[in-house]
């Protein structure tokens, strides 16, 4: 049903319905904002690029293809959009700027919730352990457990097949579990 709503929101947007666009904006802005911050690490760049991105989507609505689920399209195009902006800003400093190498998500200690009744997790710096993982694993973890996306959606965003998403997530969680020996990771 969620998907159904997605489909009709998208259709109405293509017909120029500003109400539908506001529904879309309200449901995806927070997630894209967080994603943008993780990639750019710069609030002004994130917010300016989001304004331009949504304006771009609205103005080109008639040329958009039909979608059943909106999330992969928005995450993918926004990532590309943001990286283009960053590339422009960085043009003089950096020559090697491929998408695959650039997205390096960092987690902060405040973003992680653990049982606060004992010292155990305070000694082990979980965010540090997470940040040591390979970039692709971190992005998969972020999209799955932070943005709440499904593996099929993540595979579209990261441009890998479904099985690779599952494997990547599995690998990441396995190596974390070895470090901190817990049974349950990410609810």
């Amino acid at each position: 049903m969620d998907k159904l709503t997605d489909k009709y929101i998208w259709k109405s947007l293509k017909e120029g319905d500003l109400n539908a666009f506001s529904v879309l904006f309200e449901s995806y802005y927070p997630k894209l904002h967080s994603y943008g911050l993780k990639i750019s690490k710069n609030k002004a760049v994130t917010e300016d690029s989001l304004q331009d991105f949504f304006l771009y989507v609205y103005e080109h609505r008639e040329n958009l293809s039909d979608l059943d689920t909106i999330a992969p399209y928005l995450f993918t195009s926004y990532k590309r959009f943001l990286l283009k902006v960053m590339k422009k800003n960085e043009k003089l400093k950096q020559t090697d700027f491929s998408i695959e190498n650039f997205v390096d998500i960092q987690f902060t200690a405040e973003e992680l919730m653990t049982n606060q009744e004992t010292q155990r997790f305070k000694d082990k710096n979980i965010s540090k352990l997470l940040n040591k993982l390979p970039k692709r694993q971190k992005e998969a973890i972020y999209l799955k457990y932070y943005s709440g996306l499904k593996a099929t959606e993540i595979s579209e965003i990261m441009n890998i097949n479904y099985q690779s998403v599952v494997n990547t997530l599995h690998k990441a969680i396995k190596s974390l579990k070895e470090e901190i020996s817990i049974i349950k990771l990410f609810n």
């Binding site: 049903m1 709503t5 319905d17 802005y29 405040e110 990410f186």
Partner: protein, 329 residues
């Protein structure tokens, strides 16, 4: 199970009922372990350690606030509006502007006449949701076709007709109460969030957080705890419903612009649509009435709403004058 010894951490971890307790998943196990922990204080540290391992880690998702999103949307909307140069659009913009201007004029006349202790009223149309910040800092979301009023010098006493969700700021210094008054009852509050709905000649109250007292018209008091949902009619002098709702979203999702249905009959679901949009509902056959529907539909866009329902329960909905006519596909 009771005779078993728990001496090291693995004894706990291998115990299924311990896991159930840590995850709060099974009533009997929860009761057993609460009792066990109380009786064995010397094992407390070990129990906590084992609990850590079971609970693990999760993300505290730090998304930006709704206010910020609304602000960013208004920025974007302004950009979209200025880019539109068609005269038709301009006219619509002017019309909105003139409505706003006349409301402003009315409000200022109101202020002029009654000045200090004037009554302030907020009203919504069908398909419209309004966010209001009261003087004391409390937030109110007013659902469609509803009205809310209060006196300027007494903003913690609210009269409500229709539906609203309240997030009341606690006044720790003065401990001042907050009141919501309807035709059937009044709600007495210190600081909490709850939903009140007076549509259909009764008042429904759903408590999300904190605790509140209901003072029913017939003189009785009733205390509510989080999750309680009470429906009372003073006409009938009767409590119609007194239940616990586990999924708070079912009662409060409207404030985020959507109605949530969970295995609800289409007839009941359409009653909700009727309340939100003001259309009369006509069923052309009896079978469709009892079809169950699960999912979310928007509250401020009737066209998307109709399409979503049509697609999910295999009916055709025709919008004609002020009616929604439902027939089988």
């Amino acid at each position: 199970m009771i005779k078993k010894k728990y001496n090291n951490i693995n004894d706990f971890l291998e115990d299924a009922s311990f896991k159930n307790w840590a995850l709060q998943e099974n009533g009997t196990d929860i009761n057993f372990w609460e009792f066990w922990v109380a009786k064995n204080p010397e094992k407390k540290e070990l129990v906590n350690k084992a609990k850590d391992l079971v609970l693990g880690i999760s993300f505290d998702k730090q998304f930006i606030s709704k206010d910020k999103v609304a602000f960013e949307w208004s920025k974007l909307e302004a950009k979209i509006q200025t880019k539109k140069t068609k005269p038709k659009r301009k006219l619509r913009f002017l019309k909105q502007f003139s409505v706003a201007a006349s409301i402003l004029l009315l409000v200022s006349i109101g202020f002029y006449f009654t000045n200090n202790n004037s009554k302030i009223t907020h009203k919504t149309n069908y398909g419209e949701i309004l966010n209001i910040k009261l003087q004391d800092g409390s937030d109110v979301t007013l659902n469609s076709n509803s009205s809310l009023s209060y006196y300027k010098n007494e903003s913690r006493k609210i009269w409500l007709s229709g539906e609203a969700f309240f997030e009341v700021d606690k006044k720790t210094v003065t401990n001042a109460k907050f009141w919501v008054v309807t035709d059937d009852l009044s709600v007495e509050v210190y600081g909490t969030s709850f939903n009140v709905n007076t549509k259909k000649k009764k008042t429904d109250v759903f408590l999300e957080e904190g605790n509140i007292w209901l003072k029913l018209k017939n003189g009785t008091d009733k205390k509510m705890i989080p999750g309680n949902y009470i429906s009372y009619s003073s006409d009938k002098n009767e409590i119609l419903e007194d239940i616990n709702v586990f999924n708070a979203n079912l009662k409060t999702s409207w404030k985020n612009g959507s109605l949530l249905f969970e295995n609800l009959s289409l007839e009941k679901a359409m009653e909700k649509i009727e309340e939100s949009y003001g259309y009369s509902i006509i069923f052309e056959d009896e079978i469709s009435k009892n079809t169950l529907i699960t999912g979310a539909v928007p509250i401020t866009n009737i066209n998307i709403c109709i399409k979503a329902i049509e697609k999910s329960v295999d009916v055709i909905i025709n919008k004609k004058d002020n009616n929604l006519i439902i027939s089988k596909k």
